[in-house]
């Protein structure tokens, strides 16, 4: 019993240490966007585009965020990464960016109602990842959490088109 209580105490202390809230003051408010505006951004992009749809309440989004950050860093300027926060609020979105995308080269937008992914051919579930070749050609739409191999393969695919 004493051992169980000790373990429980240690876990609670560690959880308390790790539960520090991310500082969102350094994260600017996310610009609201529409389907037309976002489509125009993708069409104008001289490079292929990876559009990731996420929400701060979405657990799988948390899992793939570090992967997207790494991909954005390793792709350099060859691929444009866009994050679309949906069905969320500014505070939640900024907190998520501060915690999971602190240094990512990703332009984030917000779509509070969450209609844009549906208009682009996806669904209401998150996460979603759209892969566009130059000229806004949709090459792949990945539903659900993405793994490193799939992300790397699809980036290679849109770079090859």
């Amino acid at each position: 019993m004493r051992r169980t209580l000790s373990i429980l105490f240690i876990v609670l202390v560690m959880a308390g240490c790790g539960g520090e809230t991310a500082d969102i003051s350094a994260v600017p408010e996310l610009p609201e966007t529409t389907t037309e505006e976002l489509s125009a951004i993708i069409a104008r992009s001289p490079t292929p585009v990876v559009l990731n749809v996420w929400a701060s309440w979405c657990i799988p989004c948390r899992s793939e965020a570090p992967l997207l950050e790494r991909a954005a860093q390793s792709a350099g300027g060859d691929v444009t990464f866009i994050g679309l926060n949906v069905q969320d609020d500014q505070e939640g979105a900024r907190g998520f960016i501060a915690e999971f995308f602190p240094d990512a080269q990703i332009d984030h937008y917000i779509d509070v109602r969450g209609n844009i992914p549906v208009d682009l051919g996806g669904g209401r579930g998150v996460p979603l990842t759209f892969f566009y070749a130059p000229g806004a050609e949709l090459v792949e739409l990945h539903s659900g959490v993405i793994d490193e191999r799939t992300l790397a393969l699809q980036i290679d695919e849109i770079l090859s088109r």
């Binding site: 657990i59 790494r70 490193e148 191999r149 790397a152 980036i155």
Partner: protein, 239 residues
Amino acid sequence: MEFTLLGAVLFAVLPLYGVLYWEARRGNAASCTKNLWDIALAGVIAGVFVGRLAAMIGDGVNPITHPADMVLIRGGVATGPAAVAGIATVAWLGREELWPVFDGLAAAALAGLGGWHAGCVVRDACLGTASDLPWAVAQDGSTVTRHPVEMYAALGLFAGAIVIAVWRQRGRPAPAVPAGLALAWASAVRLLTEPLRPNLSGGPIAWYVLGFVAGFALALWAWNRHRHGRSAGNAPVGD
């Protein structure tokens, strides 16, 4: 969509069980009294758990404040820590008959790993870097043909499993040699196919090299001991 992972797990478990069953019927594991199936499953579960934990920590996700993320296996499993945890679990559970247990699992583990790679067909994840070879395959709607790299790995691992199972059946190798060679072969297959996989971080090359060296060193050590008339661990000298 996420259930494709379960399909891939079935692809891994069936050959694992099949080889264990075949070896048991052939009397290959006669010197081992442990239930190898139970030990193998425990090793796999421990490996996936530790590998996922390591991947989360590596990605900066705190597993204590975000425990639900543990179940997102598709979010990533760190290969090296997973392999170490799996092997350590097998070693612990089979500690009374260490080498017979490891040898008994050698061919089955290769077959299971091969099945996991072959399971790419249900996960739609077989393709690697671009290639012009005649057997290269393109994604739906694409003109870019690619190496079916996971099938290369699966074939290599299945071949290793067959060789070791038949060798144990016919040649009665020295204790610990099949286990060491299986580890070296699995690592070599992953190492050789890794450059054909697109990735963001270069892949766990160091772990593969470590696995190859460790496996080969174990096999050499065991063979040398056997040659000089001493058995490795608690297994009987070649019969």
